[in-house]
């Protein structure tokens, strides 16, 4: 019975994936991809990876979908749908992909025995960081360097997107996210939802130390609230020259790096935490990161500046 659910889920996912690739219209492809993202977050629930499910739903389906949909809307008048290559290329591409998939399937079907895992090591050491959620322990303690470097990637992504600003608009604000058509429903949603969303976002970050949740999930919910307000024209996209904005972007990574260096003096290693204070330090770092992630995700969706800075 339980496997039946999995089978249905896999069938739906494969349908969505094929649809994403084969459908002619670009927007239909994006919608199929968003559906796929939501189905995948169900898969992550079935795999008992609740943290990943939350992230996939929020970032993989939600934020990525939003970026792609906006792109479709703006591409519509300009770009023609491309012409597919001839049947020879198609068959070659199909063969190559099929071989890759078959090879990967063969690996899946012959797992090593016993299956290797670091779960035991992760469990053994988790008391040293005082956390209840092992995924947070990995992200903020065992493998914190990855998380730190990934924050640098996000800042670089913001710079990379801003780099596409035409010179005349440097320092100005990204184009409005507002819909062309005023909508009472959207306006109401954007007025009522943010207070709840902000509470949920903070809750997810706070909760992430011991239960599923964490910086990304919380940060994405906060970003979603900001984007919703921008879409309903209740908030303007900020000018990219604003010092306040830049401080918010850098705040999380800066706190993280500072905590890392403090670790050298307090407990001997960069990014180590003294056992007695590990949890409060980690929660503080996570809170700072969530704020920065919210701003960064919002800026990445908003895109490069599209108007000159105001006086």
């Amino acid at each position: 019975m339980s496997l039946l659910v999995d089978l249905v889920l896999v069938a739906l996912i494969l349908m969505a994936a094929v649809w994403t690739v084969l459908v002619r219209d670009r927007r239909d492809a994006v919608i199929a991809f968003i559906v796929l993202g939501l189905l995948l977050s169900l898969v992550w629930m079935r795999l008992y990876a609740v943290d990943v499910a939350l992230t996939e739903a929020a970032v993989g389906g939600g934020a990525t979908g939003l970026v792609l949909l906006r792109a479709c809307a703006r591409l519509l008048p300009v770009e023609a749908e491309g012409r597919l290559p001839g049947p020879g290329t198609q068959i070659a591409a199909g063969l190559l992909s099929a071989i890759a998939a078959a090879g990967l399937a063969a690996v899946v079907l012959s797992p090593p025995v016993p299956y290797p895992s670091l779960a035991a090591l992760a469990a053994e050491n988790i008391h040293q960081v005082g956390l209840g959620n092992p995924v947070t322990a990995v992200l903020l303690a065992y493998r914190s360097l990855d998380t730190l470097l990934e924050k640098v990637v996000l800042v670089l992504a913001v710079i990379g997107v801003w780099a596409l600003t035409p010179d005349a608009f440097w320092g100005g604000a990204p184009g409005s996210l507002k819909s062309k058509h005023a909508s009472g429903a959207l306006d109401l949603l954007a007025r009522v939802l943010p207070p709840f969303g902000i509470v949920v976002g903070i809750y997810l970050v706070w909760n992430g130390a011991d239960h599923p949740g964490g910086t990304f999930q919380g940060g994405t919910v906060l970003a979603a609230m900001w984007l919703l307000m921008m879409m309903a024209d209740l908030a303007d996209p900020p000018e990219i020259r604003l010092k306040r904005l830049r401080r918010l972007v850098v705040f999380g990574p800066a706190v993280f790096i500072a905590a890392g260096f403090a670790g050298i003096f307090m407990s001997g290693w960069f990014l180590s935490y003294p056992p007695d204070y590990a949890k409060p330090i980690i929660v503080a770092v996570e809170a700072a990161l969530a704020l920065s992630i919210a701003v960064i995700l919002g800026l990445l969706v908003a895109g490069p500046a599209a108007e000159p800075p105001k006086r």
């Binding site: 909508s183 009472g184 429903a185 959207l186 109401l188 949603l189 009522v192 939802l193 709840f196």
Partner: protein, 97 residues
């Protein structure tokens, strides 16, 4: 007591699922976007409401119960807003009958 509560849960959740099924059938069978939306939102809101109601007795503490109710309220609100937006989009693109 717990048998009664369990029976209550089974009955209301099943009823909720029936509404979901009706909503899905409506989505597939109704002729145009607006009637489909109508079927979907009405049935799903009621369906979710019944499921939440049925699950309430199973909650270990009051916080979980409040979370469940919050989920229902938020889904109601988001669903209503989304269907409004879809309806407006439909109205703009296909001038009404």
């Amino acid at each position: 007591m717990s048998v009664v509560l369990d029976a209550f849960t089974v009955i209301t959740v099943t009823a909720g699922l029936v509404f979901f099924l009706a909503g899905t059938v409506g989505l597939l069978r109704f002729p145009d976007a607006l009637t489909r939306l109508h079927a979907l939102t009405k049935a799903d809101n009621l369906g979710l409401g019944l499921i939440v109601l049925g699950l309430l007795p199973q909650c270990p503490d009051i916080t979980s119960a409040l979370k469940l109710i919050a989920i229902w309220v938020l889904v109601q609100f988001a669903g209503a807003s989304a269907s409004q937006l879809i309806a407006q989009f439909v109205r703009r693109n296909e001038p009404g009958p």
